[in-house]
């Protein structure tokens, strides 16, 4: 496409197309959007994050990532839509404008580029990274079990051939380490939202332990409001709660780590659907999914803006 206005948001795209979209978005909005390279994957692909900022230095920030599990294609597609939405609305939407007056937004659209490329070329159902595992013929680590929060616990697999394999050690995956280093070095991330599919859930920590987080009540209230906002658009029903009480024990998960770093507003979404198409959600549902999810994201972002800590 010649511009982000002619980009087809209601279609799934290749890695190259998404990376080209990012460059177009930056070129069209140089005063708002920049592209950061935060690392390289096992197969030496660059890992990019879009930064949306009206200025300032090291402002408090919101992080959103999509596509950490590569086969969850509606998430990367939604991430592309979010990027365009931020650019479209950053002046005319009063909530978004006021968020960006005080905070930056970081958006990592393709959090697992090797896995995503593999789903496009070899195996549509690939979930993990593509790192080689010593002593095994199997490839890849579950990037949502590789974080240093309850790492190696019973909510992950020790089997390299499993889709929930935790990896040889925490942060072994460059895709995970890149985010860990970025968040640590930034030091001022106030909300962290990691987006998956499917199941239509909004989840908060913990996944690795049944001990409730100290901020459980607040996170639950935010979730209730976010889900209500989401449902208001198309009636899509979501459930919400902590990871371990709502789905199952998951050890070494992303938002458990981010919460333990002090990022209070740590959430995970599981987008559409609940089991008609699963990971093979038709492209016609990309835009409605992104639209409704955006409403929930705004609730979280507005709350973060209004409750500095």
């Amino acid at each position: 496409p010649l511009s982000t206005s002619t980009f087809d948001y209601s279609s799934y795209h290749s890695l190259d197309e998404i990376y080209a979209f990012m460059d177009l978005l930056v070129a069209e909005n140089p005063n708002l959007v920049s592209k950061l390279e935060i690392g390289h994957t096992t197969e030496n692909r660059p890992i990019y994050v879009l930064k949306f900022s009206k200025g300032g230095t090291n402002r408090p920030a919101i992080w959103i990532d999509t596509g950490i599990h590569s086969r969850e294609w509606v998430t990367q597609a939604s991430g592309v839509w979010f990027a365009k939405k931020i650019v479209q609305d950053h002046e005319n939407d009063s909530e978004l404008a006021s968020i960006l007056d005080k905070m930056d937004i970081f958006l990592e659209i393709v959090t697992n580029p090797d896995g995503f490329a593999f789903t496009q070329t070899k195996n549509r159902m690939w979930r993990k990274t593509r790192s080689k595992q010593s002593g095994s013929v199997c490839v890849g680590v579950d990037p949502n079990r590789n974080w240093d929060a309850g790492f190696g616990g019973s909510g992950a697999s020790k089997n390299p051939c499993s889709d929930t394999y935790h990896g040889p050690y925490a942060n072994s995956e460059p895709e995970v380490k890149a985010i860990v280093d970025f968040v640590t070095n930034h030091g001022n991330i106030k909300a962290f939202i990691s987006i998956h599919s499917y199941s239509q859930l909004l989840l908060y920590p913990y996944g690795y332990t049944t001990t409730p987080v100290p901020d459980q009540e607040e996170l639950h209230e935010i979730s209730e409001k976010a889900v209500a906002a989401l449902s208001s658009l198309y009636g899509t029903k979501y459930k919400y709660g902590s990871i371990i009480t709502t789905i199952y024990q998951a050890s070494g998960g992303t938002i458990d780590w981010t919460y333990n770093q002090g990022i209070k507003y740590s959430f995970t979404f599981e987008l559409r659907d609940t089991g008609r198409y699963g990971f093979l959600l038709p492209a016609s549902q990309i835009v409605p999914t992104a639209q409704e999810t955006w409403l929930a994201l705004k609730v979280i972002m507005v709350h973060t803006r209004d409750h500095p800590y």
């Binding site: 087809d8 799934y12 549509r124 159902m125 889709d163 008609r276 699963g278 492209a283």
Partner: protein
């Protein structure tokens, strides 16, 4: 390229602890090459599993023999994948 010809996605809903245990044990049977889209998490919660063609009849027979109810969530995985590819190609061309 991995193809999914003949694959189906089954939805299993364990109704009691014994059924749940049986479904959980399926995760350890690597030879079946099951791909759990939604892993087992508790009674009454759906377990979605993509089943390769060679494992379909054995798995269905196993579930039926143990009285575990299931439904076919996706009857033809490859058809959906092909449709998705076509849509991407069409968009790319336009």
């Amino acid at each position: 390229t991995e193809t999914f010809v003949g694959h189906q996605v089954l939805r299993i809903i364990p109704g009691n602890d014994k059924e749940l245990q049986k479904v959980q044990e399926l995760q350890d049977l690597e030879e079946l090459q099951l791909d759990f889209w939604l892993a087992p998490r508790g009674l009454g919660y759906p377990v979605d599993v993509r089943v390769p063609f060679p494992s379909l009849q054995p798995l269905k027979a196993h579930l039926e023999a143990n009285g575990i109810s299931y439904s076919i969530m996706i009857e033809d995985v490859q058809a959906l994948v092909d449709h998705e590819q076509m849509e991407m190609f069409r968009s790319s061309r336009s």
